[in-house]
Subunit: 453 residues, 2 copies
């Protein structure tokens, strides 16, 4: 059988899958932080175009992908599904391992799947500029590319620790024409407030979100784009899983287990939601496992509560597994996983026992990443190594149990921009991080006041 399974562009799925249609418990509504009453989605019109707000609350099972978006997708989609024959051999496992490789996109990750869609809908409604935050730089690069393709300006607030650790990420955003700032900046009130308390604050996704939102809210021609967390973002990523379904069919196989890293939830949702449809509507029992970093374990150690999506408290309150919006994750190399909460959809599914979660330490993940590079020839992004480490655990379990499992995972990005991280790992400079129970407790206690009566 072929190692790499392609589908022709003409057979690309033409619809995104909206899991809300099939969820047994629908997601709880976002609340206004002061009234604690459900917000009217159109209250978000200052930040998002109408089409995206409608997708945010849609209960349609499938949503058509616009022609122009499909046309831009062709630059890198459909992406290959690859059988990890070489990794299987190295592990001497009876498990069959497949990975969907999203690293072939212009930004080297899955992020352009939604960036292109968001840029398209904004442009269509007359917006001139998009602002956003970025952690490891994947999302900022994706939006820079997308804005360039549809003809929008792009302004990126990049988490300072990543800006300093990964200067080349800034360069690639600039090659696509974006303006990039190290967050916290003194360009916004949110940034200035943080800097006043701690001038050397390394930043976080939460802070950068606050800055990008503030800029968008203060100009009518500017809107904001989020790279994860929101329902419409997860929706756009389902193109990944929809392609996998067709490719698995070509392979004559079907996954028992689907694994992806989880930062906000969009790459996990992208590959797993279309397979969860089989669980929700046809009674299948595919195990969908979210792999998170032990240093930022919202799914395994956080609580399901209402919390802000950002650090400054500008967003509505969202019902999610969270470590508290003031939680400051350790500066691990998987920058894209350093976010305090999980998307509403992923959180509800976990609460209902429909998905699983596991937390992994970064040294185990880098070891897995190195083995993957040496066997499969692709250096994985640090975020993606979390999925690989869990795949290896499952493959070893299959070996112990003498069972042939079919495992599918999302190789959501390559690691060519993260060579400093691999350098540190090879030089023994990477350490594991353990969450302080006191800090967690204190953050979550503070959240009590934001819960509805």
């Amino acid at each position: 059988m072929e190692k790499k399974i392609f589908i022709p562009e003409s057979e690309t799925p033409k619809r995104w899958y909206n899991i809300i249609a099939d969820m047994p418990n629908k997601p709880l509504p976002p609340l206004h932080p002061e009234t604690k009453q459900p917000i009217n989605p159109m209250d978000l019109a200052a930040l998002f175009p109408e089409a995206l707000i409608q997708q945010e609350v849609s209960t349609d099972r499938f949503i058509d992908i616009p022609e122009q978006v499909l046309d831009i997708y062709k630059i890198w989609r459909p992406t290959p599904l690859i059988r990890a024959y070489n990794l299987e051999k190295a592990l001497d496992t009876p498990a069959k391992i497949y990975y969907k490789y999203e690293g072939l996109s212009p930004s080297g990750s899955h992020k352009p799947n939604t960036a292109v869609a968001q840029a398209y809908y904004n442009k269509k409604e007359g917006v001139r500029k998009l602002t956003t935050e970025t952690g490891a730089g994947q999302w900022g690069t994706a939006l820079s590319f997308a804005c360039n393709k549809v003809g929008l300006e792009c302004e990126v607030y990049m988490v300072k620790v990543s800006y300093n650790q990964k200067p080349y990420r800034r360069v690639i955003m600039q090659t696509f024409g974006a303006n990039v700032y190290a967050s916290p900046t003194d360009r916004t009130q949110a940034g200035r407030n943080i800097l006043a308390k701690d001038v050397s604050n390394p930043g976080s996704l939460g802070i950068a979100i606050s800055e990008a939102i503030e800029v968008a809210a203060s100009d009518q021609h500017t809107k904001y784009a989020l790279g994860s967390v929101l329902n419409h973002v997860l929706l756009h990523q389902t193109i990944i899983g929809e392609e996998c379904i067709k490719q698995m069919e070509i392979a004559g196989d079907f996954p028992d287990i689907v694994i992806a890293p989880l930062g906000g939830g969009s790459n996990f949702a992208g590959i797993s939601f279309p397979f969860l449809r089989y669980n929700l509507t046809e009674g299948k029992k595919i195990r969908c496992i979210a792999a998170e970093p032990a240093s930022c374990p919202k799914l395994t150690k956080g609580k399901f509560m209402y919390d802000f999506g950002d650090t400054a408290g500008y967003t509505p309150l969202l019902p999610m597994f969270t470590l508290g919006h003031n939680f400051m994750p350790a500066s691990i190399h998987a920058g894209g996983l350093r976010y305090h909460g999980a998307s509403v959809l992923c959180s509800q599914l976990l609460k209902d026992g429909l998905i699983e979660a596991v937390a992994l330490q970064q040294t185990e993940c880098f070891r897995a990443g190195l083995l993957f590079a040496r066997t499969e020839g692709i250096l994985p992004a640090p975020e993606a190594t979390h999925a690989i480490a869990q795949v290896i655990r499952e493959a070893e379990k299959a070996k112990e149990e003498g069972q042939s499992k079919t495992i599918l995972f999302n190789l959501c990005g390559h690691g060519y921009f993260d060579l400093q991280a691999y350098n540190d790992f090879l030089e023994g400079k990477i350490t594991d991080h353990h969450l302080s129970d006191e800090e967690l407790e204190s953050n979550l206690t503070e959240l009590q006041k934001f819960q509805p009566a």
Copy 2:
């Protein structure tokens, strides 16, 4: 029509094409530097395994690719042929532009095509370690990957200016398990001689070759691998063009013009030789154009003479277009093109008027690279931008002449490891370089003494 044209792994070409079989004038023999007599190919047995020496002098038209090599090729091959619809639109040209994308390989360039083959043949003959040189790092990465796959040690001498400009390249070689040194080093007599004259010598491919050869020649279990120039290297790269022929057939098209950058000649040979077969055996008139940097213009300003392949004068004398083995190219960002000579096969073909050559300045090339990134969504390696700049010239000519030409070029690698170069370009720090006629004249005059009677 599909933008990306794939062929299944099962239909991968199973043979390399050896252009020597069809050349009207066969390449002149390498000479011994002292006797000026043709060397016996087996004199090279200290450096290369027998199978590769046989390929070096073979006159068979096709050579079978070993099963294990084909199996490793599957990690990234067949690579896609992509129609540059978006670039065509931006140029408003009637030309049809296709590119073969070799950046999907484990090293991000075409180099593993030969690295895997060379590692395979060495391993088969009992070799334990390979040494090599690398410029921009592409070749060293490829050989590191290949050695890791077949189970050989790998020792890489990296040109110092690249080692310093591109530290992440060192890291990726190390992730594949190689030992990497900044050349000139004090590990070899060749390196020590250079450092004695100039302790801050930035290095060159020629110097690094001398070091790697010296180490290999001094240990019976160690051999040497070259990433370009030699006949067997060019042979292995023809998998690129052989795939293109099948893919062009699927596209229902055929190139009028084939363009590739030329450093030593292997990526140019890889894509163009299989098409030149149609010129040599069927009377077709495909224009094959080698794009070289204006700062290292051996094809357009050098002379066809016998010269050493390296700086120290360890290699046999080779008949080639050269700037002289003492020529020190300016430190341009396309490190892979900073080599004083052109392969024997490319040189003979140019001498016989069977291929064309053009020299381009790097600012024009980076402008072309940026346009390509913004339209096609792939950031090209600085080496590859030389091909793109020439493609744009030809596409603009087609527009002026109102003719629809079909242009094929080799996008031999991505630029994710070269973001410092793009940063410098965006900041206006990149300048053009003009060759000093005096230096050229002096280098070539010195060569007179090495010519046969």
